[in-house]
Amino acid sequence: MTKPVVAGVGMIPFAKYPQRTLVDLGAEAAFLALQDANVAPGRVEAGFFANAVGSRLFGDSTIGQNVLWEVGVNRVPVINVENACTSGSTAFYLACNAVAAGQAEMALVVGAEKMCVPEFGLINSGESEWDTQLGLVAPASFALRAQRHMLEHGTTVEQMAQVAVKNRAHAAGNPMAMFREPITVEQVLAAPMIVDPLTRLQCCPIADGAAALVVCSEEMARGLGSAAVRVEAVVLGTGGYESPQDLARWETDFRVCAQAYEKAGLGPEDLDLVECHDAFTISEILHYEALGLCPPGDGGRFVEQGHATLGGRVPVNPSGGLLSRGHPVGATGVAQVMEVVSQLRGQAGPRQINGARIGLAHCMGGDKAGDTKSCTVAILGI
């Protein structure tokens, strides 16, 4: 098995692009990644395109072929990936596997989403399940976790608000982030209540955006002259869906994180940074625990004590995370990997973590029977 590396990254700032199409957004990110890797499109042997809501909003399908054609990638296998919020990280997982298996020496991953349109409602996991028909919307499933975490572990609304405050402070150093103005705990708690106890500033904003990665074999990367970052492990897991689910200790999250550490032969103590799926403030607190950054139940205190802040023990979401970068669903998982790559290459500008060698990107998506539909973890090193 060949070890895959990331040889090129590209993204456009996450924002609202009312005048641009989904294909246009994706193509620009793909172009930037190819340019960063210093490769011609003819060398790409497989394409993986991630998008979550385009078919629902625009009635479009197999969008990946349209995007990749714009940057000169045709004739090769192109696969369209939909896996809720992990669509982008699943595309990355597939590309790494294709390279590791020798099926493609170089693969292009593109994640793109356009969701800032009037037709867009509230995210849920689709309307075919009985629980979504009974009003289970994404913020509610995390609010239900927050309520349990507060009861069982004494986590406070102030601690949850600190996740939003920290990630906004980090975003000040990231020109790709949608929201970069600092906020305070008081502002977070005074924002309109969305789903008790989560206020609007504790829920990630929707956005338009795109991000792309060039994944190739180590041998090929040597000839390119760009700074390649090794993929030490990339794993994808789904939920167990048994009843009863423990909402304060997420079994699927713990299981998939442990699997990634085992595969990489690394542990939480080795990490210089983490990008995780902070769709809601409580999500990030749960992920600290699943990732083993702190003991179970201590997530609220972990952020309160500054351990997850730039300059702290393990900076989490130095990019600003979903909460500040914005969440164009199909692009998010790709942008997370790009942030880790930029940090390991020493190209993260004012938010650079000095001497970062190992970083982790974690993503989660969808909801079923009190569990997640998908969880991905990638560990990268230089």
Binding site: G135, L144, R148, S243
Partner: protein, 146 residues
């Protein structure tokens, strides 16, 4: 305001997960695998343990709130604004299931309180018509000052 008669004619949404069961009040339509001795809600086509088809089992809707929240934003699916949801631990089957909570109870909800399944008018269906939904309602406990 509906009379009992009118209520009986309202459609129940979603279909197939709850029903009135004569004298015992509303029940959840679940499944049971005698081979694996497991209960399910809703009833799956195949038992995930042994792939045999589970039997239908009517599950008591008596339980305890495991977690709850109030959705205050513009509601989906014709639900009222605000509306409450939660996970309920069912006493009899031990299942922990998601459900609507009585929005008349919003100010009195708490983890650990006893609830009972009801079927009643709650919001509108996809066509904008009043409909019935299954929801859990607080049961006054002894010594409760509510």
């Amino acid at each position: 305001m509906h009379t009992d008669n009118e209520q009986d004619t309202l459609p129940l949404v979603p279909k197939g997960i709850a029903a009135e069961a004569g004298g015992t009040g509303p029940v959840l339509i679940g499944g049971h695998c005698p081979h694996c001795r497991r209960d399910f809600f809703p009833r799956p086509r195949y038992c995930p343990g042994c792939m045999r088809p589970p039997q239908e089992r009517l599950l008591s809707g008596d339980g305890v709130i495991y977690s709850y929240t109030v959705v205050r934003i513009r509601p989906p699916l014709g639900l009222p604004q605000p509306y409450a949801v939660g996970f309920v631990d069912l006493n009899q089957s031990g299942l922990r299931i998601f459900g609507l909570l009585n929005h008349g109870d919003i100010d009195r909800l708490a983890i650990g309180k006893r609830v009972r399944l009801k079927l009643g008018p709650l919001g509108q269906d996809g066509g904008g018509q009043a409909c019935m939904r299954p929801y859990f309602s607080l049961v006054a406990a002894e010594g409760d000052d509510d």
